[in-house]
Symmetry: C2
DNA sequence: GTTTTCATGTAACCCGTTACATGATTCA
DNA sequence: TGAATCATGTAACGGGTTACATGAAAAC
């Protein structure tokens, strides 16, 4: 309901659930989960950790590292989920709504599918797919409306953008088919991913869902 | 030098240079140029227009529209570039620097390549390419370092992200080859785009630049 | 005649970055 | 011993969004 980001907190909780970590390390891992590969700043991370501690979802323990000789003074703080935190994370992962379909939110949620039940996974994937096809419609529309008036570079940018989204949809189709397969085969909740791993440039996933024509 | 966004202003100036417009229409066009297809809010747009007027780069004229009967009271404000604005836009378009290689900035700059000279176009495309290959390196590295410890969904997200960037690089390669061709053929500055328009799934652009191996 | 779309704006707020400050540890 | 990296934090700022306010024109 508020803002709509809430991307950082789930990411942190999710990673800490996999294994306890200190801030500095967390930051590096975060970049991989956060979709885009920009480096998150400490100016974001540490205050967030602080607030998570205050809300009692994580706790930090001063882990005095024994470097190579004796114990050092400057300790690093290893964070881990509290019981409350684990509970909260499960709630977050089980929920899904409009915000969940958006780019960054989706990436984070997807990254932690391993901790999510099959129903939710499918719900998120399909919501995301709908979201993207809506976007396709919007693009195609204004595309068709303005294509004569646009110079060719702008047009090329548009074309490329459109293609990217189309590819994204095909990727989702593969994942959805996969989830459906799992769901039919297994009682749900097994957490087995078995995602498509087509190494590069395989265009035969979901052959005729996004029709290439009607572009004029 | 400041912030690093400066994505909105150039986009507005560029669009207004193509043709004068009022805010509401501008906003729709903006979404196509701004790379991602999120709708820019009026809360961003109008204050920005205001500040551009204050700096004398654009000017707004109350265009009283004759709707269908008589003249209406509520006029819409049509903005156009001033002489200063045109000059400033040319400066902006001729410049290039680290910020230019970033995602959104690049998109905007690319969209207005029609108004940019060939040297600059090539400089930006190559800068962007370098930026992306750097990113590829970063991803591949942390990818290799953590792949065993990651669950398969996170891994798939990574794989997919990597693939996207690789594709982006191939797209750039096509554009660069194209620009080089133009540059050799024509004295530069002709403004002729002739971009690659391979409809979909053409993988033979720049065959062996991003080597698929050494992924372990 | 009422709803939808067009059209312009403002104020509060959110989420993140940059720049700064500090100090320990490892490596050359 | 000095530089690079690890490690933790704070304060100021920036660029965007949401929510609000207003009203005319077009469509139904």
């Amino acid at each position: 309901m508020r803002g709509r980001s809430d991307v950082l907190e789930p990411a942190i909780l999710g990673l800490l659930h996999e294994s306890p970590m200190h801030g500095y390390e967390l930051r590096k891992r975060l970049n991989l989960v956060l979709g885009s590969f920009r480096a998150l700043s400490y100016g974001s991370l540490y205050p967030c950790l602080k607030s998570l501690v205050e809300r009692n979802w994580i706790q930090g323990t001063e882990s005095v590292v024994t470097p190579h000789t004796v114990a050092s003074k400057r300790a690093r703080i290893v964070y881990q989920l509290t019981a409350d935190g684990k509970e909260h994370l499960q709630e977050v992962l089980a929920s899904s709504g409009p915000a969940t379909w958006e780019d960054e939110n989706f990436d984070v949620r997807f990254a932690f599918f391993g901790q999510t039940d099959a129903e939710t996974r499918l719900r998120i994937l399909e919501g995301r797919r709908t979201r993207l096809t809506e976007r396709l419609e919007t693009i195609r529309l204004s595309f068709a409306r303005t294509r004569e008036r646009m110079d060719e570079y702008t047009l090329e940018l548009q074309r490329h953008g459109l293609e990217q989204v189309e590819r994204e949809v095909r990727w989702l189709d593969g994942l959805i088919d996969n989830e459906r397969g799992i769901r039919r085969t297994r009682p749900a909740g097994t957490g087995r991913p078995a995602v498509a791993d087509t190494p590069a440039g395989d265009d035969d996933v979901a052959p005729a869902r996004t029709t290439e024509k009607e572009r004029g």
